[in-house]
């Protein structure tokens, strides 16, 4: 009898040395083996918050070699060590995008839109999946009443447009944070923005909102953007960055947007500054306030850059936090 040993288990050589392949005795009829499917399951997940139904609809994942300043206050070795500790590949950043759809009972609301349908082809299907998974979830984009934008980075707003630059949700009102609009639509701010990535952020958001004739409704923190969905100012990542608390009865979920970027780096290490954080110090301060509250209240967080389905509880762990994914509920 073969005993459980590291070598045997890991190499799978047990049978090669021990011999008999029982499969040779199989009684199934001779038939071509079933072909591999080669396709992932549709990426959506449903849960209830009181009487509100939320559907997480993934836009997919972008995996790329990260640059030396990806975490502006940590070097590559430190980032790689954190990746290794969380079972990720060295030198590669894996960034998921997870917009949500909230059915309040009276309004169908999209919060953030992903990287756009045009990106689906560009990324060879790795990202830009939002419209595909929305359809798989049985949600008609024409039925969307409101699109709520958390902030103006491309992975949150580009999905507002179809590949031919039409509004992807033809019957929806577009809601944007007033502070975000004020800052980013200011031509003076644009002229002062550093060349490179920041200039591109300004250029891209103008491309998107100009295609929509700048027809948006601005919202302030503390207001309900839809029944049961309250905006919260969580600045730092961008000047007008907003999160959203969905609440029904005694149940709540905190739709954080980018309070943290990927959790395996920035929840574990809230003092690390992602290159995407426009004001790193303010983003860190916001992060700690929000995460201290989430941990104290045992409140669920929905993270745009958490691995799908992106729903978790948060606990304090050392000088940072740890996200505990909410177990997939097979029935709702």
């Amino acid at each position: 009898m073969i005993k459980l040993s590291r070598r045997d288990v890991m190499t799978g050589t047990v049978a090669l040395t021990a011999g008999t392949v029982l499969a040779a005795t199989t009684t199934s009829p001779v038939a071509a083996a079933a072909p591999p499917a080669g396709r992932q399951a549709p990426g959506f997940y449903r849960y209830k918050v009181g009487s509100i139904e939320i559907t997480v609809v993934t836009d997919g994942v972008n995996k790329f070699k990260f640059g030396d300043n990806h975490v502006t206050n940590k070097n590559r070795e430190e980032v790689n060590a954190a990746l290794a500790a969380t079972y990720y590949e060295k030198d590669m950043m894996t960034t998921p995008y997870n917009p949500v759809v909230v059915n309040t009972g009276s309004k169908l609301v999209v919060i953030d839109t992903g990287t756009s349908e045009a990106n689906f082809a560009r990324s060879k299907g790795a990202a830009g999946q939002f419209h595909v998974n929305l359809a798989a979830a049985g949600i008609d984009r024409n039925a969307i009443d409101l699109v709520v934008i958390s902030h103006f980075h491309g992975d949150h707003i580009n999905g507002l447009l179809t590949p031919d630059n039409k509004l992807a949700f033809p019957n929806a009102e577009i809601l944007v944070p007033a502070a975000e609009w004020k800052y980013f639509m200011d031509d003076g701010e644009m002229s002062r923005a550093p060349a490179g990535r920041m200039q591109e952020v300004f250029t891209n958001l103008r491309r998107v909102f100009d295609a929509l004739g700048r027809k948006v409704t601005r919202y302030d923190p503390g207001t309900e953007v839809a029944p049961g969905i309250t905006a919260v100012a969580t600045p730092g990542h961008t000047p007008g960055h907003s999160s959203h608390v969905v609440s029904s009865g005694s149940a709540k979920v905190y739709i954080q947007a980018d309070v943290t970027h990927v959790p395996f780096l920035f929840v574990r290490h809230p003092d690390w500054h992602a290159m995407y954080d426009q004001d790193g110090a303010m983003a860190e301060q916001t992060r700690r306030k929000v995460y201290d509250m989430l941990a104290a209240e045992r409140m669920m967080v929905q993270g745009f850059h958490y691995p799908f389905p992106g729903l978790a509880y948060v606990e304090k762990a050392g000088s940072g936090y740890r996200e505990i994914p909410v177990p997939w509920d097979p029935t709702i």
Binding site: I2, L4, R6, D8, V9, M10, G12, V14, A15, T20, V21, L22, A23, T26, S28, A33, A34, A37, G38, A41, G43, F44, Y45, R46, T58, V61, T86, Y87, P96, T104, G105, L108, G125, Q129, A137, G138, I139, D140, N171, E173, P221, G222, T223, E224, T230, V232, A233, T286, K289, M293, A296, R298, F308, I324, P325, V326, P327, W328, P330, I332
Partner: protein
Amino acid sequence: MTALTRRSLFATAAGAAAFLPAMVAPARAAAPPSGKQAPGFYRYKVGDYELTQISDGGRTFPMPDGFVRNVSKEQALAAAEAAYMPKGQVRVPFNPVVVNTGSKLVLIDTGFPPGAVPTAGLCQANLAAAGIDAKAIDIVVLSHLHPDHINGVKTADGALAFPNAEIKAPAPDWAFWMSDDNMSKAANDMMKGYFANTRKVLSDIAGKVTRYEWGKEVAPGITAIEASGHTPGHTAFAVASGSGRVLVQSDVTNIPELFLRNPDWHVAFDVEPDKAVATRRKFYDMAAAEKALIAGFHFAFPSLGYVEKDGTGYRLVPVAWNAAL
């Protein structure tokens, strides 16, 4: 601008909320809620093999007395609550695995038949959602003979659920559960029920069941590993292709929230609890050292993760969902 305070985070108060007036959407009926979960399957590659984790659903139930035999109920409930389970309850999911080796389509464990349990018995439906035809399954491998692993070999009306498949059961488990002598010595109602269930499900199809031994391949690239204790013939599997590996652990632990964190705890279902603890520690010490990918029947869907040492126990780190193969 509203300052970020706990109070403001929670305030959905109508008083504070100036409801946005400019709703321009045309008047029409609100979209109805779907009320249905997404299909429960998840694909990944192990070398050249394509694997599909299949959710059979799960059960959430009030924690019975003796659920954990060797600690107080208060302690067990505290652990469940710390793991965000509903107060007073435990949540146990069931997740069979399909392995497409390129030459064989293999199902490891079966869940329950449709309709047998209100929130489980979803294996058939999720196989169908995954585009996997039950008739195309070549081999059904059973890790051990507990109901949540074997009952799905039959449909609700008792027919074979995988009519073209060879069924393989671990020889020592078959010998244990089919022994009338052992049945007569069953220590409690739960064990009596298991003996009766094994016979009900497998006796009339015994001729179709091949018994397999540990240390051998049960299908190409799928090796049976002794992991006894949970039951006398309990088996884990190493699925290997090229440089890819996954350990299909079956019930080396029941739910990780309790028994991976506390590997010395005895779940009521462990037939030989001390042996189960020894197997558990050996298995996870090895898996942690090797950073091995593990598929766990009772892990939350998609029931895949890594195990790391944490204090006197272990912690499960679920894999990140891969949105495209």
